[in-house]
Symmetry: C2
Subunit: 306 residues, 2 copies
């Protein structure tokens, strides 16, 4: 998380751009005359992600490729995913791989060894999202590998979807299930606290539940947050404000569709045609940065910059 | 689940062979003179899995490749995984892909579209394991795709690892968390019941918790079980007996290490040398089949065969 904190300070914002390529929504110039076969799609996804990275790399600290859209294409998609990860890092970005992986013991370790660490793993991501249903002994293998490789994790705690509450909001021993998970995650993170004050085990906590996000900020003092649900899922700057500490650190905020498919948003449609989709991406990124700098403690960061 | 029930009846047993290739444990003839680079490993994993499939295809209804060990190798591993899935199906086996995937909405759908369905998806698995932490709206996209493609799912309910209880055994509204998940899964499955009496949404329930397995059998009348934890994780025939219905259907039992690395087990070591590792696989499979036929309602099945 020291690397992430450094990148957030350097950029003066905590924006993570989610790379969720969806065939139906790609800008027309990238899919023209294509039939949509897996090999073609993989090529288009790669070009799309690289061209987004070209735009956002000077602006934001990290990108978050979504494994599902690449996996959907089979092995050719996975090859494209590997190329996207390396490309993003070559442009100076940190890469949070959104894979929501989990398993037990040595199987969890295999996932961790595969995904985590730039030099030591074939995929080379800087961090990985992990699901907690299997409990502590399913998380520790990820923590051990991440520790060895200066990588990070984000464990699902309170997710942004409406149905997440079914399980996460059940109350046991006077605490919601997500608070039990939060306790475990913060304990694991406390053992690996770096210079920035946060440990390597982060938490996913959605922008769509602002009260719970602020509650978790109090309950998880050692845990950096990855906050999805900004923009198209309905979360705004006021909703994510409670996720930050007083210095404007402690959280990164993800937007996927709102940025990468900005060319389809009402406010940019009239302004840019399909061939100018990258300019819509750039403007949407600047907009989100401005919203967070105005409406959250993130403003503290940019004021400190020269 | 009708396909699975049919295969179980045909074979007279519910054994699933877990394909968990681990580099350190591969039989020496498959790794001789190799350095362990990803490309080499992927080739060795493929050969290993194919040679296991050659042995077990005439004996058991299904195999369960573990995605993690292939993912660990990067894109070359994923390509090998695709080949393993197709090879197993060509030999007449059903393929349960153990990926423990999950996400929300259209992202979950991308995973489902990628993995599920022989004809319609690039990976082509017959079913997929899924994690439930994100709730009902994360499961329904998988259910919808599986329904359209005559494929199946196995949702994690009560896992076999010691730490699973941390979250799964929390008591909320007088029921353990895993029972809440069980209720959801059985409700989803009830909507898709086939001729065999079970729906397409199965549940993972470990052999290491025999009482809970029997309790779940009662609580989930529409749900087929995938039972891990047999053999090297400590579960025996008596432990899994409660997972079956009176006809000997309603559950398949997975063994990974106990079968695929049988050449390293005390009882087979003296009998077969490393070059005869496939004979150890064959004998271990027969042993497991016999244990289940003697110690569980599965005996009912074989007595019905000609």
């Amino acid at each position: 998380m020291d690397q992430l904190a450094g990148a957030v300070r350097r950029c003066g914002n905590p924006v993570v751009v989610g790379l969720d390529p969806r065939w139906e929504q790609l800008p027309a110039p990238l899919t023209n005359a294509m039939l949509g076969e897996p090999q073609e799609r993989a090529g288009a996804y790669l070009a799309f992600c690289q061209q987004i990275i070209d735009v956002v790399a000077p602006l934001v600290p990290a990108v978050k490729p979504q494994a599902a859209f690449f996996e959907e294409l089979g092995p050719v998609g996975m090859t494209a995913l590997g190329t996207v990860i390396r490309y993003a890092q070559d442009q100076g970005l940190l890469v949070i791989l959104d894979g929501k992986r989990n398993d037990i013991g040595s199987t969890a370790e295999a996932y961790a060894r595969g995904w985590l660490g730039r030099r030591d793993s074939p995929w080379g991501a800087d961090s990985l999202t992990v699901s907690p249903y299997l409990g502590e002994d399913s998380l520790t293998p990820f923590v051990n590998v991440a520790t060895q490789r200066s990588a990070g994790l984000f464990v699902l705690v309170k997710t942004s979807n409406p149905g997440g509450g079914l399980l996460q909001d059940l109350v046991a021993d006077e605490l919601c299930v997500y608070r039990h998970v939060a306790e475990l995650v913060d304990r694991l993170s406390a053992e690996t606290v770096g210079e920035c004050g946060y440990g390597i085990v982060g938490a996913v906590a959605g922008a769509t539940y602002p009260e719970q996000l602020a509650e978790l900020r109090q309950a998880m003092p050692h845990t950096w947050f990855l906050v999805p649900g900004f923009g198209s899922q309905g979360g705004g700057a006021a909703d994510v404000a409670g996720g930050f500490d007083e210095q404007g650190l402690g959280a990164v905020v993800n937007s996927s569709r709102g940025i990468i498919f900005a060319h389809q948003r009402e406010e940019y449609r009239g302004k840019y045609d399909d061939s100018q989709w990258q300019r819509a991406v750039e403007e949407a990124t600047h907009d989100m940065i401005a919203q967070l700098q105005e409406g959250t403690p993130v403003g503290q960061l940019s004021r400190k910059l020269p």
